[in-house]
């Protein structure tokens, strides 16, 4: 699951990387959600990343990678 913002270039790079790696993923542009939907997305994001910052990538409900850390994302997903 990728928590992203539609205006964030680091989120964009992360999404492009995931597409390039060919992994299956869901994503939310949290800035495009409104009201309760946005609050719910932030609540669930903050469980993984208390800072609530973007992009946050949650892998298999097991671990989170905060920020566009290309190397780390590749290492975890390129198996």
């Amino acid at each position: 699951m990728l928590y992203a913002l539609s205006t964030c270039q680091w989120c964009h790079k992360t999404k492009v990387l995931l597409e390039e790696l060919g992994v299956e993923f869901d994503y939310d542009y949290v800035d495009l959600l409104e009201g309760k939907d946005q609050d719910a997305a932030m609540d669930s994001l903050e469980r993984w990343n208390p800072k609530g910052s973007f992009p946050t990538l949650v892998i298999d409900n097991k671990r989170a990678i905060v920020g566009f850390r290309e190397q780390e994302i590749r290492e975890v997903l390129e198996v």
């Binding site: 270039q9 680091w10 800035d31 932030m42 800072k51 609530g52 910052s53 850390r69």
Partner: protein, 170 residues
């Protein structure tokens, strides 16, 4: 929501203005022009939907008084450039990155999380050793400019930040 369209021309004009203002004041924009113009597009999108240029890489609330710290240039820019060589979204970078000698790396979020915002810490320096000053001293939270006068200026003479970005310093 009726949001004005962002034209290539408005992106170009804003980019050129930001670049020239930055360089006049000793800052540098990211030299990756496509990346930087996309950040500018994000700033303009936020200006259209929120009414202010909130950081494109942070979630704005839509309430300006809650988001003053992330109106670009944000309150965290200088500290992040000092420590990481770039501001959070990497619109502004240091000389080493601007000249291609160093690469931009992810910058950890310095803004307090949602639950800790609004607990504004007034950093007024009250030191018993300080003489009683005839005027209060105001600090621009964007660039650090200090001035002694009854009220902060309408616009920071150094970085052009608005009056609302000043804090009482002494």
């Amino acid at each position: 929501m009726n949001v004005p369209e962002i034209t290539e021309r408005s992106v170009e004009v804003t980019y050129v203005t930001l670049k020239s203002d930055a360089e006049k004041n000793g800052y540098r924009l990211n030299l990756d022009v496509d990346f930087t113009k996309n950040l500018v597009r994000g700033l303009l999108k936020n200006e259209g939907r929120y009414g202010y240029r909130a950081c494109p890489c942070r979630l704005a609330s839509g309430k300006k008084d809650e988001d003053l710290d992330i109106v670009c240039p944000c309150d965290y820019r200088d500290a992040d450039i000092d420590e990481y060589g770039a501001c959070y979204c990497a619109l502004y970078v240091n000389e080493a990155i601007a000249s291609g000698k160093q690469k931009v790396a992810p910058v950890p979020e310095r803004r307090p999380p949602r639950s800790e915002r609004g607990k504004h810490v007034v950093r007024t320096v009250f030191n018993a050793d300080l003489p009683v000053l005839p005027l209060p001293v105001w600090r621009c939270k964007v660039c650090g400019y200090l001035c002694a006068r009854e009220q902060p200026p309408e616009v920071c003479p150094i970085c052009k930040a608005a009056k609302e970005r000043f804090e009482r310093f002494i």
